[in-house]
């Protein structure tokens, strides 16, 4: 079961801090599941991919369990992975 945690604007748009997206095997599948279950993420956080499915907008960035920032939707996920979604801008 892959879990997605939200921070910043994505958390505001999602309306929840985290959500399980089931047994998905790639970042793209996780984002597709989010797009279906949380339409409030559309536009600001998620946008349709030209080739089908969903991807992050440039305003957001994903990170695999705190280890690695990812934007490529083809990156594979392990069953218990945690995908973190942040505002892309870390300016403070």
């Amino acid at each position: 079961m892959v879990c997605v945690e939200f921070f910043g604007v994505p958390r505001t748009r999602a309306g929840v801090g985290m959500i399980d997206v089931g047994d998905v095997s790639t970042v793209g599948e996780a984002l597709d599941a989010l797009a279906e279950r949380l339409p409030s993420l559309h536009e600001d956080c998620l946008q349709p991919r030209p080739s089908g499915g969903w991807e992050l907008t440039t305003y957001c960035i994903a990170n695999l369990a705190g280890r690695q920032f990812v934007r490529d939707t083809g990156i594979r996920l392990e069953p218990d992975d945690v995908l973190l979604i942040f505002s892309a801008d870390a300016g403070g």
Partner: protein, 611 residues
């Protein structure tokens, strides 16, 4: 000339004499304004070797061609001087209507030299200058000083002031206007040393724009973009939302950089604070983003609307006065922030110095048993003592590097500063491109002059594995920051640009009429960065100071034992950075490089030049 007055105002505080000095179009085009023009002015004054708190050391308030234009976020000014914390080049910026009034007073910059005999208010009234006795203003808080100045001089004056911390020459005192601070590096102390309580400005002298209709159209487009998703984080949550993000990524400096996570981060988050406190949003002058989030000091009781004064809360004051000192009490963090605002203290250096002192107490290097991590009352007492330079506060007011010098015992190894400037809230071992940016920064460890953390927050690098390839990214973000600080524009706009250099060139073309290209903008950025370095060399810079404290190069944080940054990796990246800049491998400036950038004439007769 469009966009500029073509002159700066130079005021001698010892005599009250003033004169206007011409600024050629060539000079203005080469340095733009803000921090860039400030670097030029400091080099021209040729006092890089002077003690920053001595009468000889100049301090400049600098505007730019974009100030007063309809471009969003352009109401900014830069204060430039030799920094009393770092003894190196220091620029700090603030956004407020002071910039608009200051430019309308009739000059592109106001340079203060000398020292007044008594505490004064420097009044620049539409081109004429006088020094009024500060009288009972001396000793008042920033806010109360401004209020009384408005009452005395009228609302058409805008007044940049120092608080009690600046008067007492706390080395990280700020200059404040309308609740905003030119905050880092201690310019408030420089004004305090000159016995200047405030600079009051007003005027009627406007600069024409070269292509006003097109400029207004561009400004509208930029404003519309600034209301979109690229700035939503700042508008909706403010920078304080970084706290939980950085905590999750183990990049949140905690207990003087001993840890990278703070278990109570959620309690201090803006999302949690909003549940218990009233909150208002505000904008700087001429800004459409509206990033300021002002929280009520006290939590509200059921049925109450709001309680107590409002406190501007940013990530940096939240991290520095909260996790960095181990304090998890939101009330105390807000109160400490408010105290810093009133006293005129840089929150990052205040929190950084207190956190360093707390660790020194833990290690038995400092006899102040009351000063403990996590103790909210100690935090508040510490801030008050610093502002008053009372008790331990007198030593803390010198900043962590000088305090380490007093304490010895290898404490300098865990004093989290570069060139004397305390680190902001970006853990360098977890954000290693940023670590490079900290190490090479002209004003020391800083997140506003190097935006290298942007690269760490991307899939372009492994943020925990610095390689020489990071040098290019660090340089590019530094170049962009230098341009934004010289044009001047707020960095929170940066994600709305798809071609920053091209769009910046267009703004400049419309305001000034110069046929500026993106290529020229890139060269201008290189010139400005190199001019700052040239000043530092004249002030005594050596390659040894472009580094990080030993803690970051020899230890991991306690909660992330595998996240390490080696001295070897950092040194290789620094060498790559220097070479990418066209400097020598260890960071000196080749004569042909200075010539290429048009900086040869700014070399000092007293310059210390190493090879």
């Amino acid at each position: 000339m469009f966009g500029y007055h073509g002159r700066y105002l130079r005021i001698d505080l010892a005599t009250g004499d003033y004169r206007y000095v011409a600024l050629s179009e060539k000079t203005l085009r080469a340095f733009l304004g803000g921090s860039g023009l400030g670097a030029y002015l400091l080099l021209s004054e040729d006092q890089a070797a002077a003690d920053p708190l001595s009468p000889e050391a100049p301090l400049a308030f600098v505007f730019s061609s974009l100030v007063g234009s309809p471009l969003t976020t352009s109401a900014k000014f830069s204060v430039v001087a030799k920094g009393p914390l770092s003894d190196r080049f220091n620029d700090s910026l603030a956004s407020s209507s002071f910039a608009l009034a200051g430019k309308r007073a009739g000059a592109d910059a106001i340079v203060l030299v000398g020292k007044a005999d008594i505490p004064v208010v420097v009044v620049v009234d539409d081109g004429a200058v006088r020094l009024d006795p500060a009288g009972p203003l001396w000793g008042l808080s920033c806010q109360e000083s401004e209020r009384q100045l408005r009452q005395a001089y009228g609302n058409d004056y805008q007044c940049a002031v120092i608080g009690p911390a600046g008067e007492r020459q706390v080395r990280y005192a700020t200059i404040s206007h309308d609740g905003r601070h030119a905050g880092r590096g201690g310019h408030g102390a420089v004004l305090g040393a000159k016995q200047v309580k405030a600079l009051a400005v007003r005027g009627t002298q406007r600069c024409e724009w070269a292509r006003p209709a097109e400029l207004v159209a561009l400004a509208k487009q930029l404003s519309d973009q600034s209301l979109g998703p690229a700035t939503a984080k700042y508008r909706e949550l403010g920078t304080a939302t970084n706290l939980t993000t950085f905590h999750r990524l183990q990049a949140l400096p905690t207990r003087n950089f001993q840890d990278s996570q703070f278990a109570e981060a959620e309690r201090l988050s803006p999302e949690s604070l909003s549940l218990t406190r009233g909150k208002a949003r505000a904008s700087c002058a001429a800004c459409t983003i509206g990033c300021e989030h002002i929280y009520q000091l006290h939590a509200k009781e059921p049925g109450q609307q709001s309680v107590g004064p409002g406190v501007r809360l940013e990530y940096e004051n939240l991290f520095a006065l909260g996790p960095l000192c181990g304090v998890d009490d939101p009330q105390a963090v807000l109160e400490a922030s408010l105290l810093c605002d009133q006293l005129g203290l840089d929150t990052i250096s205040t929190g950084g110095t207190l956190a360093f002192a707390m660790e020194c107490v833990e290690r038995g290097l400092l006899d102040a048993p009351w000063l403990r991590f996590g103790d909210a009352s100690a935090l508040l007492r510490g801030v008050r003592e610093i502002g008053a330079r009372e008790g331990l506060g007198d030593a803390l007011a010198e900043g962590s590097r000088r305090l380490a010098g007093q304490l010895g015992g290898r404490s300098i190894e865990f004093a989290a500063q570069v060139k004397g400037l305390e680190l902001p809230g970006y853990e360098p071992r977890a954000l290693q491109t940023m670590a490079l940016g900290f190490a090479v920064g002209a004003r020391g460890a800083d997140h506003n002059r190097s935006g290298a953390y942007e690269v760490d927050f991307s899939d372009r690098v492994d943020r925990r594995d610095l390689t020489p390839a990071g040098a290019h990214f660090a340089m590019e973000t530094e170049n962009q920051a230098a341009l934004m600080d010289s044009l001047i524009l707020c960095k929170f706009l940066r994600r709305i640009f798809t071609d920053f250099h091209g769009e910046a060139a267009r703004m400049l073309r419309l305001v000034t009429g110069w046929e500026v290209t993106d290529g020229e903008m890139r060269q201008t950025a290189r010139r400005i960065i190199t001019a700052k370095k040239l000043f530092n060399i004249q002030a005594g810079w050596t390659p040894a100071e472009d580094t990080l404290p030993q803690r970051f190069l020899t230890e991991a944080t306690r909660d992330a034992p595998t996240t390490r940054l080696s001295a070897t990796a950092l040194n290789k990246a620094i060498t790559a950075y220097n070479q990418a800049r066209g400097w020598t491998a260890d960071g000196w400036l080749p004569a042909e490089h200075l010539e290429d950038l048009g900086l040869t004439s700014l070399q000092s007769s007293r310059e210390i030049r190493g090879r």
